[in-house]
């Protein structure tokens, strides 16, 4: 690990303790079959700080290893608690990947709203056309091209932040690993990684939200993951309809655009709600540190975005035009808040970090 990226100062004992813990794990090896972390830990003899960064970011927080361990803090002086120590290290890693905004969830949301509210107010005063005669059209609130312009800017911002995070993660962790294949390109390993992700291979039967094994996280992650993809599909179809096939919006409820959008929205709402309930019910139930606001920001935002989207649609059929536009305004605000805060959320950063870590694992383990 290069000096510049040695994110753990000597005063911070977390990394030192993690190396100690993984060294004991490497002398035991009972957990080898649980998840990708263990074959990686056991593939070498000496555990370095760089290795620990990689293991921690490869960790899915299944907690199988915690419950199988005879050396947990509650029962033994070795005080092994891998889920907790890896979570602390993940938090620290993620903070290094984007602007280091070492602040609470509330501050992040407040900060993004300070940015979003003027945008929204500016729009309304500039473009607002909702009292003009004619049927309800979403472009009356904000016309198409300004909408596309702002959305594109925010998308570009998010994608560049993710790219920066990926490059930093590669320099910080992956490049420093000295065992085996360093190639992180595509190939059989890359395809395997993609299939693992699509199938949610490492999500089944895990100790979440309580000690008992369940598919709760598998369920809500699957709903959010595919719900999001459905909404991307809906937006893409909308673009094709309007700009290629020249069918003007709003689309009727039986249109594939709306069907995909509603399905995705429902999946995100249910998945997000399930995720939030699970997150909160897991608090204080587990012998693990909870990092407040750290790991559910995006779930909350997904939930709000999806819910307001669905309500906008519902209002189109049941309420007056003012309610529709108000809900649409809230929906837009929620989307932009989500975009702005996304690079600071574990939920977004983990997409790139997990993908790269899992791909490194597959590269290392697939002949």
């Amino acid at each position: 690990m290069s000096e510049e990226f040695d994110i753990f100062s000597d005063r911070d004992s977390t990394m030192e303790d993690a190396v100690r813990q993984f060294t004991i794990c490497n002398a035991c090896r009972y957990c080898e079959g649980y998840c990708p972390v263990w074959p990686e830990v056991h593939s070498g003899n000496i555990i370095t700080r760089n290795d620990v960064l990689y293991y921690s970011n490869l960790c899915y927080d299944h907690r199988d290893c915690y419950y199988a361990c005879p050396y947990v803090p509650d029962a033994h002086e070795f005080k092994i608690n891998i889920p907790e120590v890896t979570r602390k290290i993940r938090k620290k890693t993620y903070e290094e990947l984007t602007f280091n905004l070492n602040s609470s969830l509330e501050k992040k949301i407040a900060l993004s709203l300070i940015l979003v509210i003027p945008i929204m107010l500016g729009w309304i005063f500039t473009f607002n056309n909702i009292y003009s005669p004619g049927p309800i059209s979403f472009y009356k609130l904000v016309p198409k091209y300004p909408l596309i312009a702002v959305s594109s800017m925010l998308s570009l911002y998010l994608l560049s932040m993710l790219a920066v995070a990926g490059i930093r993660y590669r320099r910080l962790v992956i490049d420093g690993l000295d065992r085996g294949d360093r190639n992180t390109g595509v190939g059989i390993a890359g395809i395997t990684t993609l299939l693992n992700v699509l199938a949610h291979k490492w999500f089944r039967k895990i100790h979440y939200p309580g000690e008992k094994e369940s598919n709760v996280r598998f369920g809500f992650h699957l709903l959010i993951f595919y719900g999001f993809l459905m909404d991307i599909l809906s937006t893409t179809l909308g673009f094709i309809y309007e700009d290629i096939l020249a069918i003007p919006s709003p689309f009727p409820f039986y249109s594939p655009v709306v069907i995909a959008g509603v399905t995705g929205g429902l999946m995100l709402t249910v998945g997000g709600l399930l995720g939030l309930v699970a997150r909160f019910s897991s608090r204080n139930k587990q012998p693990f540190m909870t990092v407040e606001g750290f790991d559910f920001l995006l779930i909350l935002e997904f939930f709000v975005v999806a819910l307001t989207g669905l309500l906008t649609l519902l209002f189109r059929y049941t309420a007056g035009s003012e309610e529709v536009y108000l809900m649409l305004l809230i929906h837009y605000s929620a989307i932009y808040t989500m975009y702005i805060t996304a690079p600071f959320s574990t939920n977004v950063l983990h997409i790139i970090v997990r993908l790269m870590s899992l791909n490194r694992f597959n590269n290392h383990n697939i002949p």
């Binding site: 002398a27 090896r29 079959g33 005879p70 947990v72 029962a75």
Partner: protein, 461 residues
């Protein structure tokens, strides 16, 4: 605490005890499990186990090669003294695969042989997550039965036996002594490896320098109570599975991670900085099981495995970092050895090392020393490139072999060979009937499971 009316009382809560408790509970009997440890340390030494040894055909549970019953029997004979109960031994070998089937059907899952244990991948099936995961599965399973009660922090004080028949037992539960009656009792309470008083009879004060690798709760009271009531025993009290472990390990409960694998890569010296055995006699698994007893015979039961830069990183490192120094003199100081003596031992050893052309750690490579006693038969490589590394070693007692003699139904028998009417033993407490004075990896779990189930069934009939 309910003082009576139990159909079956199970003493202990390790693998064998839980197999008995589950079997009895499934039949609807009123079962009491007395666990000496508090809940967070439950399960005895089973939490440090990791696999089952079973005879099997090719393809069974994913095995690529057969492990025949004959081969299994031969392996047992190789490690024991030939005083084993052949009927029990034959039973275990013939039924070994049933132990795995039973565990599977009660929720235990399996994994491929661990990366460091490839020598066992033909003979042993590994528990996913190891012994504590298996125990958790069984405790969870047992939790479904209202007719079974588990009491933690409850230590057996006395077994009350009349006319070869169990009447009741006295237990200290959270500080209070209570008498509990039951129709039968199953002793699944392990050996006595954490009872320093009994070990002192066998080892003298040397025991103070031993590391007890297993739980601190195996004090052997149930076993000794049965002996007080005239039960016959098997094995010797000074017999046990003993390996060289890191001297810095905790006195109790360090488990698997305390072992040190550097021996064949090093020279091992005692407190006088003299070598005392052939460090390169054989490859790891075999060497490992001998070094403990040899260290136990050295003054103050301390030894040091010393090697140089060339060997660092070649073996699975133990839980603690090595002691690293650039000169042997400073190293000697740090280890409390006489620097001149250490220098002399290393020089003599280096002078006896051969010129090495081919070096192979996976097999005995024939690179042996010449004209030195003791010799190092393989992997004799000079120790001359700083930095120098050392691990301090002590004898680590894994478990004891001494136990209760049982009949073919796992019933405890008295010195006249007559069985006690309603007292069974299962697991480590009786494993010495099969593993007389020796050990074969993974057999303990197979024995514990099969006799645990048997005792549970027999206790009801």
């Amino acid at each position: 605490m309910d003082a009576g009316g139990y159909d079956v009382i199970v003493v202990g809560a390790g693998n064998a005890a839980l197999c008995s408790a589950i079997t009895a509970s499934q039949k609807g009997k009123k079962v009491l499990v007395l666990e000496k440890a508090p809940e967070n340390q439950r399960g005895g030494n089973s939490k440090f186990t990791r696999n089952f040894r079973i005879a099997h055909g090719e393809g069974w549970n994913g095995f690529k090669q057969e492990y025949s019953r004959d081969e299994f029997l031969t392996d047992i004979k190789k490690v024991t003294r030939g005083e084993s109960n052949s009927e029990l031994t034959g039973y275990v070998v013939d039924h070994s695969s049933e132990a795995v089937d039973w565990a599977s059907s009660h929720g235990v899952r399996w994994q491929k042989a661990l990366k460091s244990t490839l020598h066992l991948d033909r003979t042993n099936l590994f528990i996913l997550g190891g012994g504590k995961a298996l125990l958790n599965t069984y405790f969870q399973y047992l939790g479904k039965y209202d007719n079974c009660r588990i009491v933690y922090d409850s230590e057996l004080v006395r077994l009350n036996v009349e006319n070869n028949t169990f009447q009741s037992l006295t237990a200290r539960i959270q500080g209070h002594e209570v008498e509990i009656k039951g129709d039968s009792v199953i002793l699944g309470s392990g050996g006595f490896e954490s009872n320093l008083n009994i070990l002192r009879e066998a080892w003298g004060d040397a025991i103070d320098n031993f590391i007890i690798r297993g739980t601190s709760h195996n004090t052997g009271t149930p076993m000794m109570e049965m002996i007080r009531h005239g039960a016959a025993s098997v094995g010797e009290k000074n017999d046990g599975h003993m390996v060289g472990v890191d001297a810095r390990s905790p006195k109790y409960d360090g488990g698997i991670v305390t072992r040190v694998d550097s021996v064949i890569f090093s020279i091992v010296v005692n407190k006088f900085a003299r070598r005392f055995f052939d460090e390169g006699y054989d490859i790891w698994p075999k060497r490992y099981a001998i070094s403990g007893k040899l260290i136990a015979q050295q003054p103050d039961q301390i030894a040091f495995s010393i090697f140089d830069r060339k060997s660092w990183g070649l073996f699975m490192p133990p839980l603690y970092p090595p002691i690293v120094e650039n000169s042997l003199e400073v190293m000697a100081d740090k280890l409390g050895l006489n620097p001149d003596e250490l220098r002399k031992t290393v020089s003599e050893y280096n002078a006896a090392c051969p010129e090495i052309s081919h070096f192979d750690f996976s097999n005995p490579d024939g690179n042996g020393t010449k004209n030195i006693d003791p010799a190092k038969s393989n992997w004799a490589r000079r120790i001359d490139e700083p930095p120098f590394y050392a691990y301090p070693l002590r004898p680590g007692l894994t478990f004891t072999y001494f136990g209760l003699k049982v009949d073919n139904h796992s019933r405890v028998i008295d010195q006249a060979g007559k069985p006690f009417n309603n007292i069974w033993a299962a697991g480590e407490i009786m494993a010495g009937n099969i593993l007389n004075g020796g050990y074969l990896g993974g057999l303990g779990m197979t024995i514990g499971t099969l006799f645990g189930i048997n005792a549970g069934e027999e206790a009801l009939s």
